[in-house]
Assembly symmetry: C2
């Protein structure tokens, strides 16, 4: 933690300090809905944009240049660390990411290496330095991030997107010792990666557990996820920056999720914000939770939904306004501008 | 309700009466995991098997002939009533169902008709009569079913499977009056369809709301789903048979779901059964909730998970053992046999 109080509203909210307005950023704010982003992606592949520091830094800055976001998030993806560990990742146009030789057996787990982040994610660490050099003078914090062990493990086993996670769960149930080794390897790699993002200048770190909640019920989460996320958050205390614990599909066991760690708990749009905060505990900051579909609705409806989130936060220090999941590619740019400005205006920005 | 106490354990459990063993059936128990089913589907399309009473009745009987299930469920699908209402439904091999001209505007809703079930679902009603003639002498109850209004409405708008339900929700937010008309039309059609299934001989009726919980948070469910499901359950009281209110993805607002109606609340695998029953209320019967992936796990793990569900039910009258969602096509037949027999054995069947 910083020894002096931070001034940026986003960082103050992470520490539950009062702010002059509710800070706001959107998950996947650097993305397809922006024409500037599409212009770059027309020339470079997904992996090229992630691995080229100048391109990744440029994309990171696009949304904070276009809108009044209170934080930037480094442009990257959760999956590239898997490449460094020895898996064959490909971004297939129109389909999404794919692991060409997915994990099917215990020996595939044993083959995975745990190299240091400097070696396997050097491009992203360099991009963070470039982006921070631009953002720091403007007083805008940069968020670093990584995927949580379960989400990465299930990707590595399913080989791509999944509806029911049958392969990952069958592996988990059938090979508990290999599952444990896989999760521990991911904890090692992700802890080093996140700590190095903070060293490179990231002012906060978000862990994305996008899949655990959809794949697992409360008891499985406690058995197969909680020990690893808890260990990871413990290791991340060394980073000395606020930690954001984000997950989706976990609304019925937010208490268990929150117990893993993090200064801030990021919640999806599946429950009212006040209900979520009560279940998480008011000693923690909360991030969320506008339904991303609201950005496709008429302004009357969008405004009512922003009001609802702010009403439920009730001005309590420690609320970071965000979507409940990533922004959709077909969202009109004007709706993003209007939403961000309205959050500021309604919550007191002069 | 029956004026005399039923004898079949499944029906007794629906009424929270004590049983000599825990009754069990599996959602989608007549399906691809059975070689007998695949043999029929090799010769006939999905719609042909549904619309030909002899085929649908034969498929309905397959799982109760092969395993000791305590109930049969009529072989059909939730979507065919949409054809009768005027939509163009197709089952695309390897993809699943597709609506070729999905609803995009208010006038598409106005074009939908609400014909009686005898006219549009006569094949399924005839299949119920055939199946009941076989099942009744054996003392096995037949369950009729239909899709809940939200699940059908979102299908009609999305045109097929959906990940984020953006089209359905955008329509719902943008055209609230048309949404209301659409939902009311579906309530009319589904109420008549379900009541006629009971008249044809179904001993219980299950409403499947497979999508509402994944698409909507608590507050949206209360606004856009609850009034219609409540109206539908109210109309179904006339059917005079137990009603099962099944949904998935609703674990954080089971109280709201349960308030819509039904003698039995069917829950998915996302929460412990005792936790779910407490949130639903012990005045209602409960159906569930083995994770369908458990049927792909080694017996040691599968048995432990069956034990867990039964331990949490704790012998309380009103528990119907089921999966938390439909059985997967790649489940080994032997695991189904072993699971069903073990539920009976552990819960006291002589």
């Amino acid at each position: 933690m910083a020894t002096t109080e931070p001034t940026a509203p986003f960082l103050r909210a992470c520490h539950k300090l009062p702010t002059d307005h509710t800070p706001v950023w959107f998950m996947r704010q650097a993305g397809r809905y922006m024409p500037e982003y599409r212009a770059i992606r027309a020339q470079y592949s997904m992996l090229e944009t992630i691995q080229t520091p100048e391109l990744a830094a440029e994309i990171t800055l696009q949304p904070v240049n276009a809108f009044n976001f209170d934080a930037a998030i480094i442009f990257s993806d959760i999956l590239p660390p898997l490449v460094g560990m020895g898996l064959d990742l490909e971004f297939v146009k129109g389909v999404g990411p794919r692991i060409n030789k997915a994990i099917t057996a215990t020996r595939d787990v044993d083959m995975l290496s745990t190299p240091p982040a400097e070696e396997i994610m050097g491009g992203t660490l360099a991009a963070i330095k470039l982006a921070v050099a631009e953002l720091e003078p403007r007083g805008i914090p940069l968020i670093g991030f990584a995927g949580a062990p379960f989400t990465l493990a299930s990707y590595a086993i399913e080989g791509g997107g999944s509806k029911n996670y049958t392969k990952a769960k069958t592996f988990m149930y059938s090979e508990p010792a290999a599952w444990k080794r896989l999760m521990n390897k991911l904890v090692t790699v992700q802890a080093d990666y996140l700590i190095n993002q903070a060293k490179a200048g990231a002012s906060a770190l978000q862990l994305f557990d996008s899949w655990a909640g959809h794949a697992l019920g409360r008891e499985d989460y406690k058995r197969y996820v909680q020990p690893y996320n808890t260990a990871l958050f413990k290791m991340l205390e060394r980073a000395g920056v606020p930690l954001i614990n984000f997950s989706t599909g976990t609304s019925s066991y937010l208490d268990v999720v929150a117990s893993c760690g993090g200064n801030v708990v990021g919640v999806d749009w599946h429950m009212p914000l006040d209900w979520a905060w009560e279940h998480i505990g008011y000693d923690r900051a909360i991030q969320g939770n506008l339904d991303p579909v609201a950005l496709l609705a008429p302004w009357r409806e969008l405004k009512a939904r922003i009001d609802d989130v702010l009403d439920r936060a009730n001005g309590r220090p420690g609320h970071i306004f965000n979507l409940g999941h990533g922004i959709f590619p077909n969202v009109p740019v004007d709706n993003v501008r209007r939403a961000v400005d309205y959050v500021h205006e309604r919550s007191g920005r002069p």
